[in-house]
């Protein structure tokens, strides 16, 4: 507490003379997403300079890294809200494997209709999310430990379930099971196919010149995965910044005790956020399973870290109470663009991690600096 800078009450309508006026430019800069925005600009500039002639920015190239970025956005939105509420979920990756396998086993092996399998899986996974949230609240243990346990439990269960029912770790046949189902296209379908055909017909995007797809555009629609990413992004941003509940998320993560004292239902907020993270993992897994037509017991490996890294690049505070969904999405885009862009640029793929680590460090240093400016330390 710096007592030398204490402010006596100013009784006039004039602004306090000791509060320096800040330019609106500086005001606009001080936001949690700044690190993410800078990173995104940096990454795109880099690839525009080094990989512009490799097809990275052609229609199919854009679609390629957009899909990967969308995958990251879906899990990052969940991880972001949970992190702002002051908790972690390390079981996201295992949850992806688990829910994918659950859909495959329920539909292919047990013969349930696809929509029943999908809905049952969502309920099951959100139940597990609620359970880990409840354990964190009840035991008072760090969520790091509780969800680390679930990382192993869910992965183990996934492999066990797959082996004991089918003797394989990859379960296929989902394309057939999803045939004619009403819910499967919500996750695995494509939209705006007509628009892309029209674009292709007019020669604005490339079309296939040979083979059975002759005349069809190389990009034939927006996958539902991307639609989900946009929906979750808008929902997450709206929830966090525009609603009463969003204020509770900030308060729960910022100082759970203070929030409880003013009547914020902190436990409920945290458990709901664990469930939302599980929901996001489930959306990811369902889209992937329907798209690939198979579920693998090793799917989603390390996804929890990719989600957390996206969120941290996006300006969220690891200890909770501060962050932005838009920032997390920018972090996810950086992640996706770097991962796919290095491939287009013909860079040795092992350098991906080096590049990623450098960006992570850069973004976090910048974010720490911004945060100090917000609290007036600098």
């Amino acid at each position: 507490m710096t007592e030398t800078t204490s402010t006596p009450p100013v009784k006039t309508d004039k602004p306090d003379e000791r509060v320096k006026t800040r330019s609106s430019f500086r005001e606009a800069l001080i936001r949690p997403e700044l690190g993410g925005i800078c990173g995104t600009i940096l990454v795109f500039t880099f690839f525009l300079l080094t990989a512009s002639d490799s097809g990275m920015f052609s229609a199919s190239g854009v679609m390629n890294w957009s899909i990967v970025s969308s995958q990251f956005i879906i899990i990052a939105v969940g991880a972001c809200l949970l992190m702002i509420a002051g908790e972690f979920d390390l079981s996201v990756g295992s949850m992806i494997g688990f829910s994918g396998m659950s859909i495959a086993l329920l539909s292919v092996v047990f013969g349930l209709p696809m929509w029943v399998a999908i809905i049952a899986t969502f309920i099951l996974c959100m139940g597990i999310g609620a359970l880990s949230g409840w354990l964190v609240i009840k035991t008072g243990l760090p969520s790091f430990i509780v969800t680390l346990a679930f990382l192993f439990i869910l992965r183990g269960l996934t492999i066990f379930a797959a082996i004991s029912t089918t003797n394989k770790t990859i379960v296929g046949g989902i394309k057939d099971a999803a045939e004619g189902d009403w819910l499967a296209p919500v996750f695995g379908g494509k939209v705006f196919t007509g628009l892309f055909q029209w674009l292709g017909d007019n020669g604005w995007i490339e079309t296939f010149e040979r083979g059975f797809k002759k005349g069809q555009p190389v990009v034939d629609g927006i996958p539902m995965l991307m639609v989900w990413a946009v929906i979750l992004l808008i929902f997450g941003h709206w929830l966090l910044t525009k609603t009463k509940f969003g204020n509770w998320i900030f308060a729960s993560g910022g100082n759970a005790q203070a929030a409880t004292y003013v009547g914020v239902p902190v436990n409920r907020v945290k458990i709901l956020m664990f469930m939302f993270t599980a929901f996001c993992a489930c959306v990811f897994a369902t889209s992937q399973v329907i798209e690939f037509g198979s579920a693998g017991a090793d799917r989603g490996l390390l996804k929890e870290f990719e989600a957390i890294i996206s969120v941290v690049i996006g300006g969220a505070l690891l200890t909770g109470g501060y962050g932005s969904v838009i920032g997390a999405a920018l972090g996810a885009i950086i992640f996706g663009v770097v991962q796919q862009g290095l491939f287009f640029a013909g860079v040795e793929s092992s350098l991906f991690r080096v590049f990623l680590g450098a960006i992570l460090l850069f973004a976090v240093i910048l974010n720490t600096y911004i945060r100090r400016m917000i609290t007036g330390e600098k």
Binding site: K244, Y261, G263
Partner: protein, 259 residues
């Protein structure tokens, strides 16, 4: 005087084998500032926590506006009109002043059937309420972290008052503050009292207590050591009462009246 806004009767609180409070009673009138004094471990914090619904008393009764009350959680006490401002737990530094101000009581407006946090209203009300307390904010969007400790206490007090507190409990609001900031907080307490709100002010600084208090109650080892009204007691007597009389008298000789 009229009837007390809150009356605590023979409150006892046991934590396992530890008796934190053994029969503390007091009453507070509307518009009155009661100073609760006592050394560390006297049971001040436990006592106000039973008043604000954090702890349930093991034995004893709480009457609020003449009715017997049984608070299950802080929320019940807040709903009844008992607000507590904790010294360090009042505010969340990285959140804006307005978000802190409305934490737990967010104003909403409906647009097309969807409920939105009404940021515009929140900012306006925050600026207005802070102005009433004599603090000019650059904007209600600025983070609480940019305010000084005294200003943060004032935000917390203004918040409690705005949301209709009838009893305001302040847990050592001045203990970590500088001289000027303390003066601000004491002035705020005075303003609040003049609005007819009962204030329970916990402190172990006798001078701060004498500055705003109407009645004084001293706790020691979970018991009421004594109560007095303003003018019935001098600050030396209060100081002696707090420190357990005899001990301080002997100390005073060697320290030559510096305490």
């Amino acid at each position: 005087m009229s009837e007390p806004i809150i009356e605590m009767k023979k409150i006892e609180k046991h934590f396992g084998s530890v008796i934190a409070l053994s029969g503390v009673s007091l009453k507070v009138m509307p518009g009155e500032c009661l100073c609760l004094l006592g050394d560390n471990g006297a049971g001040k914090s436990t006592f106000i926590k039973t008043m604000s619904g954090v702890h349930k008393p093991s034995v004893g009764e709480i009457y609020f506006e003449g009715k017997s009350m049984d608070f299950e959680c802080p929320r019940d006490a807040i709903t009844a009109g008992i607000a507590t401002v904790y010294q360090d737990l009042a505010m969340i530094p990285l959140m804006s002043v307005a978000r802190n101000f409305f934490m737990g009581n967010e104003p909403t407006k409906k647009i097309a059937g969807i409920s939105f946090f009404d940021h515009k209203l929140a900012n306006e009300v925050t600026m207005k309420e802070m102005k009433k307390m004599g603090i000019h904010l650059r904007s209600a969007d600025q983070a609480i972290g940019t305010l000084s400790g005294g200003e943060r206490q004032t935000v917390a007090i203004a918040r409690a008052v705005h949301f209709g507190a009838k009893v305001l409990i302040l847990d050592e609001p001045t203990s970590a503050l500088g001289v000027r900031q303390t003066a601000n907080v004491l002035a705020t307490i005075d303003k609040v009292r003049k609005r007819g709100i009962a204030v329970v002010f916990i402190t172990h600084n006798v001078r701060h207590a004498m500055a705003v208090g109407d009645t004084f109650t001293v706790l020691n080892r979970g018991r009421t050591l004594g109560s007095a009204r303003k003018g019935e007691i001098t600050s030396e007597e209060l100081q002696n009462l707090m420190a357990g009389g005899a001990t301080l008298a002997t100390l005073e000789g060697s320290l030559a009246g510096t305490i």
